[in-house]
Amino acid sequence: MSGMIDIVYAEYNYWIYVTLMMIGFYAMIAKKNLIKKVIGANIFQTAIFLFYISLADVTGGTAPIIVGHGGEHAEHAADVIYTNPVPHCLILTAIVVAVSTTAVALALIIRIYNEYGSLEEDVILAARRKLQPEFSEHARQKGVAEVSEQ
């Protein structure tokens, strides 16, 4: 029993990150609304960030800012444990890239809404087939030919 509790205590953050990643992944695949897809992508990204940050944590450690620089608390400086700073730096970079990708995705969604008047994926695809029937028929025949070749 206590071994089970030890396993849960040691690994619960991995389970939480896998759960969040599954939620975001499911939203990206199964939801038909485009804004829901972007929300799912955001949840996916933050789940991966949570994984990195929990890998960096050290029990009893402190934030990676050097204690005792400039004279204050210099007597404690020797026996301080710092958490791992390298994943923090990587994730700091990734968060700002994430907001850039979100902004470009939202701009594309606005353009799509101005063209097709809807945010639902199936409505947009149906409107696209209606607007360009010859393109759609050509693509369908090509797809059928590829499938029958295999």
Binding site: M22, V86, S100, V104, A107
Partner: protein, 91 residues
């Protein structure tokens, strides 16, 4: 479609949880990543080499400065892309 998505997601999650058993425990100080020579080097040498007490800032702007330059360029490019997509030209 939704059932297929659920199956795919559940298989991915099960594989990740299975792989998670090999990762170090939460807060383990003897993990490979923490005991790596590079991490210890950054913790010990960031103040004498770059003069900045915040190790994350020293990593971001000094040791990985080239990466941060590229990232700033990414933000700039994202701003320009949104401007190209949405800005109406007043003539």
């Amino acid at each position: 479609m939704k059932t297929l998505a659920l199956v795919v997601v559940l298989i991915t999650g099960a594989m990740l949880i299975y792989a998670g058993h090999d990762l170090p425990a939460f807060g383990d100080i003897n993990s490979t990543a923490y005991q790596a020579p590079m991490t210890q080097y950054f913790i010990e040498k960031s103040v004498p080499e770059s003069g900045v007490p915040n190790i994350v800032t020293a990593l971001l702007a000094s040791y990985r400065g080239y990466d941060t330059l590229g990232e700033t360029a990414v933000i700039f490019t994202a701003g320009m892309a949104v401007m190209l997509l949405l800005r109406r030209r007043e003539t």
